[in-house]
Amino acid sequence: MKRIGVFICHCGINIAGTVDVKRVAEALKDYPGVVLATDYMYMCSDPGQSLIRQSIKEQNLEGVVVAACSPAMHEVTFRKASAQAGLNPYQTEIANIREQVSWVHQDDKEAATRKAIEHIKTIVEKVKYNESLIPLSLSLVKKALVIGGGIAGLQAAIDIATAGYPVVLVERSDRLGGHVGKLSGVYVNFNAARDLLESKLQAVQENPRIKVFLETEVEELGGYVGNFTAKLKHRGDNGGEPTFSEHTFGAVIVATGHSLRPLSKFGEYGGGRYPNVIDALTFERMLAPDGPTGGEIRRPSDGQVPRQVVFVQCAGSRDPEHHMPYCSKICCMYTAKQAALYRQRVPDGQAYVFYIDIRSQGRDYEEFVQSAMTEHDVLYVRGKVARLYEEDGKVIAWGADTLTGKPVEVQADLAVLATAVMPAEGAVELAQRLRIATDEHGFFSEAHPKLRPVESLTAGIFLAGTAQAPKDIPETVAQASAAAAKVLSLFSQRELVAEPTIAYVDEELCSGCGLCIPACPYQARAMHPWKHKAIVNEALCQGCGACVVACPNKACKLRNLTPSHVLAMMDAYLAEV
Amino acid sequence: MAEDRAPITRVLIIGAGIAGIQAALDIANSGYEVVLVEKEPSIGGRMLQLSETFPTLDCAQCILTPRTVEAGHHERIRLMTFSEVIAITGEIGHFTATVQRKPASVNWDVCTGCGLCQEKCPTKVASPFDRAMGKRKAIYTLSPQAVPNKPVIDREACTWFTRGKCRLCEKVCPVHAIDYEQQATTTQVEVGAVIIATGYTLYGLENLGEYGYGKIPDVVDGLAFERLLSASGPTAGKVRRPSDGKEPKQVVFIQCAGSRAPETAMPYCSKICCMYTAKHAMLYKHRVHDGTAYVFYIDVRAAGKRYEEFYHRATEEDRVIYVRGKVARVFRDGDQVVVWGSDTLSGASVEVAADMVVLAPAMVPHPETQRLAEMLGIPANEYGFLLPLDDNILPVETTRPGVFLAGAVTSPKDIPETVAQASAAAAKVLSLFAQWSGVPQAMETPVGAEAS
């Protein structure tokens, strides 16, 4: 019988606070096949991993079960540790006694302890049947696709191309630059956004490794990390039929940016009926030297210079009841900037900013907002605006100052709404085409909110900029470079390795019925050209098991999760019942 | 760049917090060598001191430990802990850094990290890692999960060094690793690029006399509270106040302790306090179900993915009482700590007789960052945060070619932003190294050739 070691992690108090780990170790000691059962504070730590490595060597272990957290967290860690001690990594398995046991049974320590013991025994049974596997190696196309030509896409393309790899940059509209291209100056130094963008555009233009496709969208994306195939859809000339092109890429960066909540959604602010109630991006165009007014502030209704301007923050943000529950992050800062710029251009004008909380978090941001108040005499009023309406050629704002406890009214000439930042139009559809996840609002989901902020959950697809969540230019640029770093890391490999725990076909049992082909969600199944047997494309197979269920002859199996594995595991569980 | 020598494709990263570690892993995993210098005996930085992280409440240890272990074992990462960079010369492609290692008083080459010396050492001192919420021995590692897991002797605490007595650790060490005579050593490392990721420290709260920090034992800072909440902390995750070890039933959290105060402390916002305070109050309520948590704030700054929702969870699900107004005074009354604040929304002054007060201190750069900046000729602002070339579009580049910045060294930032910035700095280094190593083979493929 295989010599198996069981290592039980306390995970601080995460597991040990609920599960009696000593008792678990004691209970496993005499289980058939187990030659060692021990516990430790943090198995993932350096000494914890040393303990595993040392035990493998000293006890000649042929299988390891680590009872700890989810395999999503540490399977790689412990398999690597085993490999370092000379054990085939696929002989190491995790029994999840944290998410599946201690966290869900905190109120019943006795039951949690018993469940942990049963749980570990089933995994011991699995390990008994495990084969030693060798990871698959896959080829790697060292060329990147960047979707979206805003500041994020430009930066990512530049970083990848500067390192020497070719990049295809696709942009849906007819110009590069995205939202940054529409801005006047940027906070906190009022530098012209146009100039900042120009430096990036120039870098893109000058780099022969970057190929830009304007008016182009990703129609389809197939394949897998290292070998994506993309079908690009190019808008036809003069309204003609679109044309398509196909490319292969090793990695994809999604940098599709954001849109803004439309004015029509704000009934209390006129729902778009009042010409002098505009959104902040429209005001930004008014401030921009290349905008429709040449940088002069003129209200839309009659072209007059507005003497009183009301800025309404949180228009559609922080409002789970009617709009978006989240904070749009950038509005506090650009509103302060817009109010200051307004005051610079209309020195006798009065600006009011209605806010709930001022969120000026960044270097010199707080100071910037304070200077808007002190140097530019912008009046900040703490309270959300309830109503905007037009009367006698004025935009009247109803607000309240929650600090004095007084209702306030401003007879303004112009009102500027800081509308909520939303995902770009079509983001959810794009996510479906790319097979990556979004959150409930349509922002692309990162692999981990803390430590993997630019990776999607799909290998080889990375995220940058506001497509992931609202963020400002510095953060977007940093994230774009970070996404580029992930691509560069990927491209630095000679070849890619993939998990071998995928499906295979027992040709003797396969009748060639083909039921597995439509069952596969990854297009990984096909018929052999002449053998009349089903085959598995190992690069595409994700080991989900859908074909195993579909196969009427039990010819499809998953490596290290065969019927023998499953039955042994079931027996172990049921033995306790 | 010197014409006659090929540029060196090796990077020096100063600071092994999450920023330094992330940059190191990105670069090392791309096939280049990294020298990672850390002044503490082990890596992980501030994040290792944290209990759980907002907004998911993932345990910080659980998500960080795999990274510290990976960095510790990486064949292309050379860890130089308990060390500081004392000089850097040269230019892009050819920097020479002088790294000074403090005497650990332990020969790490033979030490196995068995921990016996720490167990037997009779001298206990307040642990800076635990923000004095707990004690450590005179021979110590920062945590049981330290990478590397090798101890050092605190020569200011060890009775052999102070009074010439003891040497117990030497007697118990099974591999004779203790070396009381060990001297500081210096090493020169040759690198082509540098990333500065020296992070932050906390504003000296003693300067804010009105809050009684340092005088009233039950007034602690946010990082100390992290240690109290941490499963591997001095109280194993139980909230106990320092004065008498009792479970506090009323806890007041005071934000902006030293931030947003140009006249009295720092003018800037420290960015992360709103969120970690919401987390502290929430975790406190998870640990002490019958407790009451008050948060005094000026503006709630919950700008980030799922941050606003997290703040609402604190008030709605965990019933944390938010009070808008900065606290003016904290004083002791019997065994309670009285807080005088105001509620600017109702226009009332308020008072809480609390059992414990937690301050959210301003983040400030490490003093030694200034020295590094001077050596490298990188400008800093008046508070010592280093300045990137352009805040908006060159956030990790500096005036000095080949030198990059990552994390809180440029301004307060949270973990995801720090991690993104660290990878961004790595991208810049990888770009340089790729150019120096010659044209990648992929470039031979003309772009867009297959377009139909």
Binding site: G267, G271, R273, E390, E391 | -
Partner: protein
Amino acid sequence: MRIPYYPGCTLSTKAKGFDQAARQSFAALGIELAELKTWNCCGATFPLSRDNLLDLVGPVRNLVSAAAEGDKLAVACSTCFNVLKRSNLVMRNEEDKREKVNFFIEADYAGSVQVLHLLEILRDEVGWDNLAKAVKKNLADLSVAPYYGCMFLRPPKEMGFDDHENPQILENFIRALGAQVADYPHRAECCGNYIAAFDLETTKEMSYLILASARKAGADLIVTGCPLCQFNLDRWQQDLAMKHGGFRPIPVLYDTQLLGIALGLDATTFDLDKHYVDPRPILAEKGLI
């Protein structure tokens, strides 16, 4: 067409003109508003305390009566409409309260009746185009300010048949009658409601905001569908004219009164003489009476 009809207390007493105009106008449009055989006061305000189930008894009894006579219930008064519609939703959606209220009144009612405002019937059953065809008088020279008040539109989750911030039903009604709509901002602000009984000065000022704004928009008169709004807006205009120099009083009509006039009905039973600000001069000036 015959639709069961709930007049309510005020329409049976102080606002008889409102009621008369409703019945006659709808009859002219081929709809019989058939008064419920038994009905009682709706309660005049929807109970806002969760445990206040007794206050639901009144409105629900009316709904039970309505259910015996048909599947729809027409209501003219916005306040009654609000109370009946919201009470009906409670009976439809909140099982616990439904059981208790049914137990109190020995009924088995689950919110089957559809509570409709007269304007909804005009919009959805008659149709604006058909209404326009039935109009006999020329109102083209009349500028009318629609006044919604609160109860008709709010809370939108429950009332929800028009955009609560930018409602259109009264505007479309006025346009169908051939009159001009005076666009003014305060058509859905509160007139002061029952505060009048407690703090008259506050009510007056709340009403003044609406009146002055309608005047400024060039309105000849205001129409509304709520007797209390009508009273609050109408009653204090002399005081307000004295207090706010330059304010010219403006008549406040019920929507059904204007409807009846437009349909060419004899307005003598509409009690136009009972209004505080007499609407007859302006109506006569425009050749409508």
